[in-house]
């Protein structure tokens, strides 16, 4: 059987459409999702198939439609909320953090929020600082939610299906920069479970840990470093909550060196959390402290060249790996 190759965005669309066919309680709402097929064409054809009752164009009101969807989820529906950009979710911080993430807890386990918030996260598209947020570190701090970041088309479909079937609120972070990438995606139903990191490249000298789009730069760096005789192992964490620290620890115990690549700012971040846990569990195995690669500590520049220099990029990763492995 030949491999079916499709785009990342179509994999997301398939996940939503298949789940909506299977479960009448699932529906999609957000800005531009229906008539316009989504600002990034992820919901292409879904209005035609499911009609305006289940694919709902909302006014520009992130706080409003998130809050309403949370109410629907509390009453047993399973909404998928599309944020055109996670940057815009900031105006909905109260409903998504205070209501969605705490509802099960505050109702004493009576009713939770089976809801998926999904959309574009991260910089790299020359969209300016207010529109280029990497929200993972900001939101992952909040207990009660799950957070998933798919890297390829296969995971995009499998992880989104898991997210939709999950009874907890899932923050599903997609990267606009990855939407047009292609990969093998099976036609048949499958899911990718949460909390299982994926070793995407085997190596012996240094463990690179990342999530989502920065993995792309990890691969580039690994190729570059291979020429210098440094063999990197690359771990795709896949989900931040839950975090599969075991797979990461196992790898670091083998390589004795670790670099965490995180596109958010460094202070109190995913990178600092992962590094802290690796230090704790691999204290006697590490030959050097865990190195971290982040975006620079400033708002995202708008100019393309400055933006690329600001983000975790191949060059920054190579330098960190060389330093972590004493190859400077």
């Amino acid at each position: 059987m030949s491999e079916r190759i499709i785009e990342f965005r179509d994999a997301l669309c398939e996940a939503m459409s298949e789940e909506m066919r299977d479960d009448q309680k699932v529906f999609l709402l957000g800005e531009e999702v229906a008539q316009y097929n989504g600002a990034y064409k992820i919901s292409k054809g879904m209005l035609d198939e499911f009609g305006p009752r289940r694919v709902i164009d909302t006014p520009i009101s992130e706080s409003g439609f998130s809050g309403m969807a949370i109410g629907a989820a509390m009453r047993g529906l399973r909404p998928i909320v599309e944020f055109m950009s996670w940057s815009f979710s900031l105006v909905a911080a109260d409903p998504i953090l205070n209501n969605a993430a705490k509802m099960l807890y505050m109702s004493g386990g009576q009713f939770g929020c089976p809801i998926v918030f999904r959309g574009n996260d991260g910089a790299g598209g020359q969209l300016g600082s207010t529109h280029s947020w990497c929200v993972e570190s900001l939101y992952a701090n909040v207990p009660g939610l799950k957070m998933a970041i798919p890297y390829d088309a296969y995971d995009a479909k499998g992880m989104l299906k898991t997210a939709i079937r999950d009874d907890n609120p899932v923050f599903f972070l997609e990267s606009e920069r990855l939407l047009s990438t292609t990969g093998h995606v099976p036609q048949e139903d499958y899911t990718v479970p949460f909390g299982q990191a994926f070793v995407r490249r085997q190596g012996t000298d240094c463990t690179l840990i990342s999530f989502g789009r920065p993995l792309h730069f990890c691969f580039e760096a690994a190729e570059e470093l291979a020429k210098e005789g440094i063999d990197c192992e690359i771990i795709d964490g896949r989900t931040i909550r839950p975090l599969d620290i075991d797979t990461m620890v196992k790898s670091v115990k083998k390589t004795n060196a670790c670099v965490v690549v995180d596109q958010s700012w460094s202070f109190a971040s995913i990178g600092s959390e992962v590094a802290s846990q690796i230090h704790r569990y691999c204290f006697d195995d590490l030959d050097n402290f865990v190195h971290r690669v982040h975006s620079d500590d400033v708002p995202t520049p708008y100019a393309s060249n400055l933006e690329q220099a600001y983000l975790p990029n191949t060059r920054k990763i190579c330098e960190a790996v060389r330093s972590a492995t004493y190859n400077t």
Partner: protein, 387 residues
Amino acid sequence: MAAQNQNDKKTTSSEEVFSKNTPSSMNTSPIDLGQIEVLQILNEHGEVDKGLEPDLSNEVLLDTYRAMVLGRAFDSRMMTMQRQGRMGTFAPNFGQEACIIGQVTSLTKNDWFAPSYRSFGAQIMRGWPLEHLMRLWAGFHDGFPPPKNVNDLPFSIVIGSHVLPAVGIGMGMNYKKKKDCVVVNYGDGASSQGAVSEALNFAAVYKAPVVFICENNGWAISTPTKKQRANQTFAAHGIAHGIPCIRVDGNDILAMMCATKEATDRARNGDGPTLIEAITYRMSLHTTADDPTVYRDEDEVKVWEARCPIKRFETFLTNKGLLDDDAIKETLESCEEEVIAARDKFYAMDPADPTEIFDHLYESVPKELQAQREEYLRRLREKGIDL
């Protein structure tokens, strides 16, 4: 008891709720807001309503006309430069020139203006040099902040998030007992944001000297106005908040100028905010990342082509003897030349210092950030970027 006595002079929130005229039977029929009348002084054929025509000098009329033509010339050149890859994503203002320029003609240098990303026609009038706006849209770091002597806010891309700060500026003016005012514009789309309702309420309660201009251009990207509100007007939001409101033909520059003048006068006199719904039309794209032909009926665009704000003002000025065919041609040519000159100036400007992105984050640069700045600089140098 002492506490009760102290409270004697205080009002209570319920004192006027139960009037003596409480009706014997409850009136359960909803209030019909109906249509709010639209102010129009210059119709789409350029015919003026003599009874409403404002007393404006020939100089003001011609300056305003030129500002509109310049706005359109800038728009058109920016679209070309964007398609050439010289600009980032750009939001054109084509067809909304009267609406945007009429908002700021009654403002002084001391007043504040909170623009949205489609407001460059007004920004130019407020004193933004054209090449400064070009640097903004091309992604130069120094292009985004307003020029030093201009009381404008930088715009936000998160829809509606600039409206509350604009009200805050107005409340600050009251606090300092200044007679200045703020004009803030937002779109039909932004009117759905909770923050915009909060802004209207605060401005009304605190009588902030703010003029809200809801630019109803028919479309929030692909979402038409009818999907954004159930009542018939955006002006009605003013009624709900206790703010005097009016609807204006946003393609009629005279109506926009008159309505804004009256509203800014009210604000300066301590009479609080006004909401103006300006009815206009987004003739072009939402931004250069958009293609409206996939969701919008071209016949609708044709209807609005006939309502062109510049054309009707030209007819009016020609009938007044202030313009003729030669003068129209000369104005257009001089505006295009001004834009080209700005473009050339923009091309000739020194490249920005790429380490500027580390500036102004704090009053002084913290040492951790200084270290990052040096690292960043080193990488750029190694990459061979000319500094």
